[in-house]
């Protein structure tokens, strides 16, 4: 795996020069624009995003504490869940209410937090499945091999190529169920690329992957950007986020609370609060803490006095 091409990196990062690090800020060339998207589960508001834009051709990280609504947000955008309200545009096309398979055909392809390798299909078949517009996937055409045989050969060549890139070439005829956790992540990413997407949505691509494979996976994610794709990914590990992302969007309790470059985010107080669960009125010094305690005591005594009197 070659290192990131410096020119691509600088172009991707140049797009963010002068972009204010604040939630909902407009981007130079947004591929995805989200407005007022809400999703409630009973009384819980899982996602409540006012406005957010995703820059084309860059790697955008979506971070936030557990339960921040990152995966739900992903599910909404990719058609795997229905929003209660709101709208969003992908490449200028409204995608509200569009079912998942049509979202994928429009070029926005996702992977899953819990890897969905198709266990009893071979690694090669997993990839071949990803190709779109297959003539042999029609019921009647499937019965007549000459109709799809040539296309199938092309798809197979493309699949083999990707397997080579992802170091899975030697596993091509194994059942996907026999792969290790990290190999399944690679397989899923390669399979998503068979769709030839313009935007790849990776839900925790590094979760459960052993550290040795993490670097390789990171390399692949960077490669997506170099190949001209837009990447958005959910991640917990700040080191990973620092390493590969051009822009970071932070969610907490369903809202976008901060945006910025990785450097800006790591020094953002709101983000630190969200992660550490601190409160804005928490005491900063010992003297302040004493003063607050005294206040509370006074309030209690007053309340008790009133109750007695």
């Amino acid at each position: 795996m070659s290192g990131a091409d410096p020119s691509v990196v600088s172009i991707a990062q140049a797009a963010f020069v002068g972009v204010a690090p604040e939630p909902g800020v407009a981007k130079l060339d947004a591929i995805l624009v989200v407005d007022e998207v809400r999703r409630r589960f009973g009384g819980l508001t899982a996602v409540d995003v006012e406005h957010v834009e995703v820059q084309r051709g860059a790697i955008t990280a979506l971070i936030g504490p557990n339960g921040a609504g990152k995966t739900t947000f992903f599910n909404l955008l990719t058609g795997f869940d229905r929003a209660d309200s709101g709208r969003w545009q992908f490449e200028g096309r409204e995608l509200v209410g569009v079912p998942a398979h049509r979202v994928a055909r429009h070029g926005m392809v996702r992977t899953f937090q819990l890897t969905k390798s198709l266990a009893r299909l071979t690694v090669l078949d997993n990839l071949k499945l990803g190709a779109t517009d297959q003539r042999g996937e029609g019921f009647f055409a499937s019965l007549v091999r000459p109709l799809w045989h040539a296309q199938e050969a092309d798809i197979e060549a493309r699949a083999e190529d990707l397997l080579g890139q992802f170091n899975l070439g030697h596993m091509r005829d194994e059942y996907a169920g026999s792969l290790s956790g990290g190999q399944r992540k690679l397989l899923e990413m390669a399979r998503a690329l068979m769709v030839q997407p313009t935007m790849v949505m990776l839900d925790e691509p590094m979760a459960g992957v052993n550290p040795a494979l993490t670097q390789s996976l990171l390399g692949h994610v960077k490669q997506l950007r170099e190949d001209g794709m837009t990447v958005m990914f959910v991640e917990h590990d700040m080191d990973v986020v620092h390493d590969i992302s051009d822009w970071v969007i932070v969610m907490s309790e369903g809202r976008v609370i901060a945006e910025g470059t990785p450097e800006q985010i790591s020094s953002n107080d709101d983000v630190i609060d969200a992660y550490l669960g601190a409160h804005h009125d928490a005491p900063l010094t010992a003297a302040e803490e004493q003063a607050q305690l005294a206040e509370i005591h006074a309030a209690i005594e007053q309340a008790v006095g009133e109750a007695d009197g």
């Binding site: 998942a100 969905k116 198709l118 266990a119 997993n126 071949k128 091999r145 799809w148 169920g177």
Partner: protein, 335 residues
């Protein structure tokens, strides 16, 4: 004990009309369950639709037999749509619930006294397949086809031979059809849906449409099984189309090997051979006083116990079925 007789009766049953019917029912289930992962517990409903499309079409509505055979493609597909449209967007269990109920609903409606003029009620409909038997090229009485130089073989009447000739040809065609389907990209999508439908959705395939197609195709194959069922007896009675039929078809499928083209056929043949073998062997043993702790009327129950125990043993030691792929099962268990 007459072992030649026991083997001959067993073979006659193993390749008889019943085995054709269950082969077709199980081939349909193989498309549903083996390849697509759809749990259809109402395959008997599709058989009933096939059987009654022909019986009612000819007897009640005076249509041509061959037109009714053709109509079965339509009626079985309609049943698939009725069952599939509301349930296939939901989790897999909903299809199971709806199909197990629909099989019973169909049987109860067919036997309802109110519709006796149309469906024949509980007595069913008889003698509707004359057009089919008019074409019978076989003549004469019962024919024995023995292995060369032995008295072991199968014995069928001329009409049975005609049913079997056509029936096994249909089974062969159905196998070829399934083979062509599952080796294609279309079949790859089905197998992928069986593994994880969300993954398939994320790759831009309309999972719902594929599941509907699968349900209809397996249903039509089951419906054709229903025609063979009705024609082979020249009679169709609602109560012969009970829930148990679906589960025997599942036994045949799992015994032979799910997600294998010939699995359901082999499973049916082996299942009927074993059932008949145990049954006849027990009766012979009782007649010969080899077994004196059973009477003839108990044989049916004991047979079911023995065959059931045998199948359980097979599942323990060979969960993939007779011709299943062991590594495939190993992978799916580890998932």
């Amino acid at each position: 004990m007459d072992w030649q007789f026991i083997l001959s009766v067993s073979l006659t049953t193993a390749f008889g009309p019943q085995a054709v019917v269950f082969s077709l029912a199980a081939i349909g289930l193989n498309v549903h369950f083996g390849y697509t992962g759809l749990v259809n517990f109402g395959q008997v409903g599709f058989l009933a639709v096939g059987a009654y499309t022909v019986a009612m079409g000819v007897d009640t509505f005076g249509l041509s037999f061959w037109l009714c055979v053709f109509l079965t493609f339509l009626t079985a597909s309609v049943l698939a749509l009725v069952l599939g449209v509301p349930t296939l967007r939901l989790r897999a269990d909903y299809l199971a619930i709806v199909t197990i109920a629909s099989g019973e609903i169909i049987r109860l409606v067919l036997r309802a006294a109110r519709f006796r003029a149309t469906t024949g009620g509980a007595a069913g409909i008889q003698n509707f397949a004359g057009d089919f038997f008019d074409l019978n090229p076989f003549t004469g009485g019962r024919k024995a086809l023995n292995f060369p130089g032995t008295d072991i073989g199968v014995t069928y009447s001329a009409n049975q031979l005609w049913v079997l000739f056509v029936g096994w040809s249909i089974v062969a065609l159905a196998c070829l059809f399934v083979y062509l389907l599952v080796r294609s990209p279309w079949g790859r999508v089905l197998k992928a849906i069986r593994e994880d439908e969300d993954a398939v959705r994320s790759l831009g395939k309309n999972v719902y449409v594929y599941k509907l197609q699968s349900l209809a195709i397996g249903g039509v194959i089951g419906g054709i099984g229903g025609i063979v069922f009705a024609v082979s007896r020249q009679s169709v009675v609602p109560d012969s189309l009970g829930t148990a039929l679906t589960f025997f078809a599942y036994v045949a499928l799992v015994l032979g090997g799910a997600a294998r083209v010939f699995g359901p056929v082999l499973g049916s043949i082996v299942f009927f051979f074993l059932s008949a073998f145990v049954d006849v062997a027990l009766r012979e043993a009782i007649d010969a006083d080899v077994i004196n702790f059973l009477v003839g009327s108990e044989v049916g129950v004991v047979r079911n116990i023995l065959v059931g125990g045998g199948l359980m043993t097979l599942m323990v030691f060979r969960p993939q079925g007779i011709i299943g792929d062991k590594s495939e099962v190993a992978v799916s268990v580890r998932r």
